[in-house]
Amino acid sequence: MRLPPRHAQRLAVAVLGAATALTLGILAFILASVFQKGLPHVTWRFLADEPRDMCRAGGIFPTIVGSLLLPLLAIAIALPLGAGTAVFLTEYTRETRLTRAIRFGADCLSGIPSILFGLFGFIFFVVFLGMGWSLLSGGLTLAIMILPTIIRTSEEAILSVPAAYREVSFSLGATRWETVRRVVLPNALPGIVTGVMLGIGRCIGETAAVIFTAGSSLRLPRSAFDSVRTMSVHFYILAREGLSAEMAYGTAAVLILSILIVNLAAYGLMHRFISRRAA
């Protein structure tokens, strides 16, 4: 039986609308329940104090520091490596079996469960290289974990820069590198930033790989070789050990808010950059 087009159209609108509503509804429900249970505990003291009484009281300041430093370190390592790889693959090599293999490898790597990256980081950085549970081990492990995402999004962003721009740049006497630096990268930036945001999101939310490599020390790190605990790990430990549901929800609320702030800041910066260029 075939539906008349007019009804099919209505049905499509209904189904697609329902899918959208369901998605947004689930998101709203999660946010609402976390904020409702968590926000009342989020006070200045909660943000600025150290955990006390086996994490049942006090605040979460060291874990905020951990959640700030670890993704920053991971991005600082993964962005130059990933963007560099993407530039090399797109601008400096012709499409060959090797570049296709690298791309396929990156795609596979991004589907590997994070616990395996944690295990690798533990064996290689923590034990073999003797870095111990530390900011550095964690940062390196997370960097490897998000590298495929950064490479692929950067590559897509670079490929979306019109070929005519490159041609013009070359015709004006630019070398390949000058073309990359002055035309390709500025125009690919929004896409690269998107990759970085996805990477930061994964880092902030990551638990398994972090426990294995950065540990869960509640002391403030004094160097890259000190162990840190991130908010996600803190939440995991609080919830699993049944130490304090209030503290756990408070941590979750701060975690979500910080992801929101990071995203807003990044898109704000990007918007300013774009409008300055195309004023």
Partner: protein, 264 residues
């Protein structure tokens, strides 16, 4: 002829700026340009006409080695600029492109301000002083007949200009590099008659200083502005000579058919 007599005669015709000798371009195995032998006189406009696929754009892109960017592109024969073969391995294509600026069929302003578009080439060549750059911007925009329309908004995006303005900006961008050759690849194909007239006006003024090669689909345009015209067909140079002669008394029947509009 004796030496004194030579001294008395007017300055001899300058050596051609560009000489092609049996020059071919291959993409893969297929030749897109076959054994072209052609001189381009200094400070003149050479018009290149011919139907699509005739190799005229390939020839133009050979002059600044932009064909190099394509995979599997190779050349045979010689292409001499001021007597030097630009396809010799030691010849640097980047410095060549600074001497041979190109304007493309579709105006492609880079997504940056009008000023930054004009100074793109000069800053690559190391011009840094603001006063020098400002002077270059004004000179080049004036020479491209665009200055009066944009002088108050040099900092705005070049993407906001109209198509005709964008193409004149592309010309100004080339002029700012102080090239020796200006290569134009159907620069008016997307423009209205008035914008076209302004570009042609600029080109006619510019030939006092530059050697210009103008590829065009519009035979009338070649008749209007070119001093000499070359007719390409299926990768071969059929005929090249003074424009008036080529249009009125073509030597080759294929040229006659093309310029009278019997095909193409």
């Amino acid at each position: 002829m004796s030496a004194p007599a030579r001294d008395a005669s007017p300055a001899p015709a300058p050596a051609p700026k560009v000489r092609a000798r049996g020059f071919s371009v291959f993409h893969g195995d297929a030749p897109s340009l076959r054994a072209v032998t052609l001189d381009i006189a200094e400070r003149r406009i050479l018009g290149i006409i011919g139907p699509a696929g005739s190799g005229k754009t390939t020839f133009l892109r050979a002059l600044n080695r932009l064909n190099d960017l394509l995979p599997d592109c190779r050349t045979e024969g010689e292409l001499l600029l001021d007597g030097q073969d630009i396809y010799r391995p030691e010849f640097d294509p980047v410095s060549l492109r600074k001497r041979a600026g190109m304007v493309f069929a579709l105006p492609v302003p880079l997504p940056m301000s009008i000023r930054d578009n004009v100074v793109y080439g000069p800053t690559l060549s190391g011009v840094r002083r603001r006063a020098d750059l400002d002077r270059l911007v004004e000179e080049s925009l004036r020479a491209a007949f665009l200055w009066d329309e944009v002088k108050d908004r040099l900092a705005t995006s070049a993407l906001r200009l109209s198509g005709g303005q964008q193409q004149r900006l592309c010309l100004a961008r080339v002029l700012a590099m102080k090239p020796e050759l200006i290569l134009l690849d159907e620069p008016c194909s997307g423009l209205d008659p008035i914008s076209t007239a302004r570009i042609e006006e600029a080109l006619t003024a510019l030939k006092a200083q530059y050697t210009i090669v103008l590829v065009t689909n519009n035979t009338k345009q070649a008749a209007r502005v070119a001093d000499e015209t070359a007719f390409f067909l299926m990768g071969e140079l059929v005929e090249c000579g003074p424009t008036a002669g080529l249009f009125t008394v073509p030597r080759d029947p294929r040229t006659a058919d093309y310029v009278t509009g019997r095909f193409g």
